[in-house]
């Protein structure tokens, strides 16, 4: 990767993006063919159901929103040299926390306050889980990958248990959020998005994305996260608290992933139910690997994966929607080729 390239070169980010789209298209054709559908017909149907209508576009935006946040979350840990596979569980716990808090607030809580408190719960839920993994790493030297894999499983089993034990209204969902904790849908602002699940959460996610990237680039603390990733020992020698930055990176990572609940719980459903937003955590890993450090890259990657997910729903009758998980995995690999840690 480091050797001087003399051929006429596209910026690496663009090359990765093009490469990923090509891989997606080829695999998509293959899968559609296996499912007995003419690839071109399936592709046109998928395009029409995603970017062809305002409704479809709204759905793509809705799906892309948690992906952008989990991608941002994964990224901060990666910069610090940590591989946070726990974003999936952190998003789950954040969504659960947001659903419970939004439904338990006094119903007179005024609008922005209810949203802020629910989002706070989502962030704290995700960050708490991330911090556990970070502490295990810093204090006991346990590898973050194995710890977060275990934590994912633990949360996946505990949340249904807690819901069933009376925290939820039924065994699989939380109570309805009070009106002061809901994020308005885009359809309330403009007729064109009628029926789609997109909400102000998308705007929120974009603002968070821009602020976070700016903070990472231009604040001392933000840059320290990157330096720790380059060498924790050197950082300690220079007086940067390496260990502390490591677990903070995990906590921040989880917190941002938890905010993904804004789109699903607060913007769309109005409650948490089991499985809501599942998969967005692993998708976020692909978003981060594909999008790297630029806002355009991250948003583009989130839109690409959001498009895949929505296309999966559109085609579900003939091509099982889980096929899109295979495509997401392919994007993840294609986006990371040639960049293994040395």
């Amino acid at each position: 990767m480091s050797e001087a390239v003399s051929r006429p070169s596209l910026p690496p980010g663009v090359r990765r993006g093009v490469w990923s789209v090509v891989v997606v298209l080829l695999l998509f054709d293959g899968l559609a063919f296996l499912a007995g559908e003419a690839p071109r017909v399936a592709l046109l149907k998928a395009l029409e159901g995603t970017w062809g209508t305002m409704y479809g576009l709204g759905q793509v935006i809705y799906k892309a929103t948690p992906l952008l946040l989990t991608g941002l979350g994964f990224r901060v840990a990666l910069r610090a040299g940590l591989f946070n596979i726990g974003v999936e569980g952190q998003l789950l716990l954040g969504s659960f926390a947001a659903g419970v808090v939004a439904s338990r607030l006094p119903s007179s809580t005024p609008w922005p306050l209810g949203v802020l408190m629910s989002l706070g719960a989502a962030g704290v839920g995700g960050a708490g889980l991330g911090a556990v993994a970070g502490a295990m790493k810093v204090k006991f030297g346990a590898h973050e990958v194995i710890v977060t894999l275990l934590l994912n499983r633990i949360v996946e089993a505990l949340v249904p248990y807690v819901l069933r034990r009376g925290v939820g209204v039924t065994g699989y969902r939380s109570g309805d959020a009070i009106s002061g904790a809901l994020l308005p849908r885009l359809e309330q602002l403009s007729e064109v998005f009628r029926g789609s699940a997109a909400s102000l959460a998308t705007v929120l996610a974009l603002v968070v994305c821009l602020l976070v990237l700016r903070w990472e680039r231009s604040s001392v603390t933000g840059r320290e996260f990157g330096w720790v990733g380059l060498g924790a020992g050197v950082c300690e020698a220079q007086g940067i608290p390496g260990g502390r930055r490591l677990w903070q990176a995990m906590a921040l990572s989880g917190g941002r992933a938890g905010l993904g609940a804004s789109a699903t719980v607060l913007g769309y459903k109005g409650y948490y139910e089991l499985g809501l937003g599942a998969g967005a955590g692993f998708g976020g890993i692909a978003v981060a690997m594909l999008g790297q450090g630029s806002a355009v890259g991250l948003v583009g990657a989130a839109l690409l994966l959001g498009t895949l997910q929505q296309a999966g729903l559109v085609l579900n009758a003939s091509l099982p929607r889980e096929a899109m998980d295979v495509l997401t995995a392919a994007v993840l690999v294609a986006a990371s080729a040639g960049r293994g840690r040395r």
């Binding site: 296996l34 295990m136 894999l149 633990i154 889980e322 998980d325 295979v326 080729a337």
Partner: protein
């Protein structure tokens, strides 16, 4: 033996196979310097291949072959992505696990028109016996795994390939300087680990006589943890795997007399592992997975 104890012993032996298969797979690949968190996916893919092969031909032997080849192929794919295409091992592992989960469901729908499980799989005939333990132990897939596991451990510890494999993981620069082709050795290690995992997948399918989408249930991940707890030594790792299986079997055998909710009991291995990881020392074998060239 009392009824519950018999159930416990039989279930523990039965459950131990997928754990041990993946645990051995983890040892083989990680000792060579390639971390593979996609073993969970390899377990699922080999189970699917075993089911599809056996159903299509009606022959358990074909299913066995298909399952083992599926597992070996999947792990080799990981090896190629990591060693040759220089994809981060963690990225490749998680991607392959995702693809296996998704691909399993796609295959079920396209082949059998079902969202969750395959039709009945013709396995290999075991002993007909009234003793549950005997029935479990005589399951041919278990016997094959037992023999293969012994051979794989011998390969790792007593052969030239095994020596090169361990050298590649311990110090790749030194291994390369001594004339070992580190990249190729790692690919071989991947294949061997895939064979081990594949036998685990085959056993799960033959034992339950069907494939269902979530049947791996995180066992591949726990096996990784077992490898860490066993410090990547085959014996200790297999022992840790047996421990996980015993926990799972105890839950089945004493379900009724336990007052705990089943999902909490199912968490035990995961929580126990977290606790064990806190003893420290567990840090590292995973970090060894640095890339050569």
């Amino acid at each position: 033996m009392s009824g519950q104890l018999t159930t416990f012993v039989a279930e523990a032996i039965r459950m131990a196979v997928p754990y041990m298969a993946c645990g051995l797979g983890a040892v083989l690949t990680e000792r060579s310097g390639v971390v593979n968190i996609g073993l969970e996916g390899a377990l699922g893919v080999s189970a699917l291949c075993a089911a599809v092969g056996a159903i299509a031909t009606g022959s358990g032997l074909v299913g066995l072959g298909a399952g083992v080849s599926g597992g070996a192929f999947y792990c080799l794919l990981h090896g190629v992505l990591v060693v040759r295409a220089r994809v981060d091992a963690m990225v490749s592992g998680i991607a392959l696990t995702m693809a296996a989960y998704g691909g399993g469901r796609v295959a079920l729908r396209l082949l059998y028109g079902s969202a969750s499980n395959s039709p009945k799989v013709p396995g290999l005939p075991g002993l007909e016996s009234t003793s549950a333990v005997l029935r479990v132990v005589s399951e041919p897939a278990l016997l094959v795994f037992g023999v293969a596991a012994g051979m794989l451990v011998l390969v790792l510890e007593r052969t030239r390939l095994g020596l090169r494999l361990r050298a590649s993981g311990d110090n790749e620069a030194a291994a390369e300087a001594a004339g070992v082709e580190v990249g190729a050795t790692r690919l071989w290690a991947s294949v061997l680990s895939g064979v081990a995992c594949g036998l685990g997948g085959v056993h799960m399918v033959f034992d339950q006589r069907q494939y269902d989408a979530g049947m791996t249930g995180g066992r591949g991940f726990l096996a990784l943890a077992a490898a860490i707890l066993g410090r990547h030594r085959p014996g200790a790792t297999l022992l840790a795997c047996g421990g996980f299986a015993a926990l799972e079997a105890a839950q089945i055998a004493w379900q009724d007399s336990l007052k705990l909710a089943p999902e909490l009991v199912r968490l035990l291995p995961f929580v126990a592992t977290m606790g064990l990881l806190m003893r420290g020392r567990s840090g590292m074998a995973l970090a060894r997975g640095r890339l050569w060239r």
